[in-house]
Symmetry: none
Subunit: 207 residues, 4 copies
Amino acid sequence: MSPKIVDKTEKKRTILQAAMKVFARKGFAKAKMNDIALEAGIGKGTIYEYFRSKDQIFINAFHFFIGDMEAEFNKILARDMNPKEKLVAIIKATFDSFFSAGDFGGILMDFWAEGIRNHQQEAMEDVFNLKEVYRKYRQIIMDILEEGIRCGMFREIDTQTTASLLFGCLDGIMLQYILDPAFVDMNAASRTLADIFTTSLTKHKSR
Amino acid sequence: MSPKIVDKTEKKRTILQAAMKVFARKGFAKAKMNDIALEAGIGKGTIYEYFRSKDQIFINAFHFFIGDMEAEFNKILARDMNPKEKLVAIIKATFDSFFSAGDFGGILMDFWAEGIRNHQQEAMEDVFNLKEVYRKYRQIIMDILEEGIRCGMFREIDTQTTASLLFGCLDGIMLQYILDPAFVDMNAASRTLADIFTTSLTKHKSR
Amino acid sequence: MSPKIVDKTEKKRTILQAAMKVFARKGFAKAKMNDIALEAGIGKGTIYEYFRSKDQIFINAFHFFIGDMEAEFNKILARDMNPKEKLVAIIKATFDSFFSAGDFGGILMDFWAEGIRNHQQEAMEDVFNLKEVYRKYRQIIMDILEEGIRCGMFREIDTQTTASLLFGCLDGIMLQYILDPAFVDMNAASRTLADIFTTSLTKHKSR
Amino acid sequence: MSPKIVDKTEKKRTILQAAMKVFARKGFAKAKMNDIALEAGIGKGTIYEYFRSKDQIFINAFHFFIGDMEAEFNKILARDMNPKEKLVAIIKATFDSFFSAGDFGGILMDFWAEGIRNHQQEAMEDVFNLKEVYRKYRQIIMDILEEGIRCGMFREIDTQTTASLLFGCLDGIMLQYILDPAFVDMNAASRTLADIFTTSLTKHKSR
DNA sequence: GATGAATGAGGATTCATTCAT
DNA sequence: GATGAATGAATCCTCATTCAT
C-alpha cells in the first residue's frame, strides 16, 4: 500500500544544508537551483517537493541558522551565574554557534543583506524579520547589563547602546573572520572582547 | 573645437551616485541597469559610455565610498594628538563618514557580501579587494594602539585582536543602524564606544 | 486464485470520468495528471496502469463521449418514422446526449480545439479523427434529407450544405449554452431549431 | 538625440499577426514564445517589449479579431435596408470576416475554448469577456428580427432563441470548415443559411 | 555623445512520466 | 496492483549588453 518511505524532515534538512553551502559559496543571487540539487545529490525538480521556491529555501535557512543560537542563549540565561559570567558565556556561545555553522559562515552576509532590504520594503515582514531577531538578542544583553548595574557589579552605563555595541562587535568580528581567517584569531577575539567589556563595565570600588 | 563639452568625470559621478542609491535600495543583484539610468535621468545605453559593465559600476562605487574615509584617516594620523585622542577621532570620523554617505548606507551590505564571496573566489582579486582594505584600516588602529602602549598610556593588550574588535564594532553598529535606525542612537554609540575602549585600555597607575 | 480482483474496465471508466471532469473544468493543457488522480481518488501513478499517457486519456475520453451519441442515432434511424419526424428526433437526441454528458459539456471545446489542430498535423490521425466523426454525422442527416426529398416531403435543397448547417447549428447552440447558460433556453432551442428547419424544408403543395 | 525610430503600433501588429498564425497552427498552449518570435522574424526578448506576457498576446489577438467584425456589423445596421436584407447582409459579413482572418480561422477554437474556461473562473472577466461579445452579437440579430416582426415581414417567433440559433449556426459552420474545408462549400453555406432562415421566418400572406 | 529598441543567454519553475517499494 | 517520491526536459520570462540612428 504505502510505497517508498522517505523521511521528509530528514531530506528537507539535507536540501537545506546543501543550499546553505551553495549560498555561502556563491551568494543567494548567484546560487542556481541546479547547484543546490547537485550539492544535495538529487534532481532539480526534487527540491520543489520540499520547498515552494528559492526564496522559501532562503527563509528556511535563516530560521535553521537562528534556531540553535536562540536555544543556546536561553540555556545560558537559565543558568545560575552572575551578570559578568553570563556576559562572558553569551560571547563564548555566539562564537561557538558561529563555528558550529561550519561552512555556512558566509551565509551570514546574505542574511544581513537580505534582511536589510526586506526591512525597507514591505513583504516577508513576518517570515523574515531580521530586525526582530536583533531586537531580541540586544534585549538579552541589555537584561544582563541591567541586572549587573542593579547588583552593583557594573557601573551606570547606557545599557541599550552598550548592548548594541557588544552585539555589533560580535557581528563585526565574524565578518572579518569570514573575510580574512588568517588574520583573526577567534579564540583571542573571544577572550579579548570579554576582557574589554567586563573591564570597562566593572565598577571599581576604590576610585 | 569640441562640439559638445561634457565633463566626463562629472557625469561619471552622477551615474555612480545614482547607482549607489539604487544598490542601497534594492541590492546589487536586483538593481537593474534601467533603474540606474532612470535614477540618473539618462538613457540606459549612456551608462555604457562611462562604465564597461554592471560589475564595474559596483567596483567604482566601492572605491568611491572608500576613498573619502581613507583621506579622512590620514588627516587624523597627521594631526598632533595623543593616541587616546587619535582613537576617539578615528571613531568619530568613521561615524561621520558613514553619515556623509547618506542613503548609501545600505550599500555597505553589498560591499561586504560581494567582498566576502570574491575573496573566496578567484576573479576581481585586484580590483575589489575588501580584505586589503580591512587590513589597512586595522593596521591604522593597531599603529595607534602600539603607540599608546609604547608611551605608557595603554596597558599591554593584543593589539591585532583589539584593532579587529574595534573595527568590527564600528561595522556592527552601523549594520544595526541600517537595519533599525529607531533603536540605535548613533551619537550615543560613538561616545559610548570611545568610552568603553579608552576606559578599558587605559593603564591605571595604581594597581 | 487472483489475490485482488479489480474490475479493470470499471476502474478505467472511473479514471476517464474524473479526467473528463477535470478537462471540462480546466481544459486539456491546464489539467494536471495529479488533478485527475485526486478527482478519481487514486494515486498519480495508478493512472499509468490504465492509460499510457495524458494524450491517451484524452482520446479515450473522446471516444467515450462519442460512443453514446452514435448508438442513439442508429436507434432513431432504425425506427419507423417519416423523414421529418426523424429529423426532429435527431435534434432532440443531440440535445439529450449533450445534457447526459452533464458537467462534461465544456470538454467539447477541447475536443474541437484539439481535433482541429490534429487534422492539420500528422499524428493521431487514426485514433482521434474528428473529421471522420463529423462526416459520419453529417451523412446521417444527409440521408434523412435525401429520403425526404425522394418521398416529396422536402423541397429540393443542397442536402450536403443543409446537413452541415443543421449540424453546425447544434454545435453552435451548445457552445452558447456552455458559455452563457442563463441566456439560452435549451428546450426552446430544440423546438425552434426543429421548427425552423422543418418549416423551411417542407414542400408547400400550393404555391 | 532621438535614436532608432520605430512605429510601435506597426510592430505590435506584426507580432500580433505572427502570434495569431502560430496560435492557429499549434493552439495557444503548444505555441512557444520562440515560435512567435521566429514567425515574426524577431528575437524572443523583443516580444516582451510589446506585450507583457503570452496571455496578453492572446487577449490582444482576441480584441484584434473581434474589432473588425464589430465595425462591419455597425455599418450594416446603419444602412437603409429592410430586415430581411439586413439579416442576409449580417450572414454574408460574418462569412467575409471569417475569410479575411485568413490563416487565423483556427484561432477561433482557442478563443472559444479559453473564453469558456474564463467564464467559469474568476480572473480576466473584464479583458476577455466572450460572454459579453456573444450577447452583443445576439442582440444585433434580435433587433433585426424584432424590427421584422414589427413591420409584418417576419412571423411571430422567439427572437432570442432564433438569434442564438442563427449565430450558433454561423459558428458551427465555420468550425466545420476549419475542420474539413473540402467538405464545406462556404458560398453555398452562406446562401443556404440565408435561404433557410428567411424562408422560415417570412410571413406568408395567404395562410 | 546619447539613446532605447533589439537581443538571447540564463534561470526559476512546472509537470508528465518512471520506478522502487 | 498501487503508490507517490524523484526526475529533468521543456518553457516563460528577465535583463545585461549591443548597436543603428
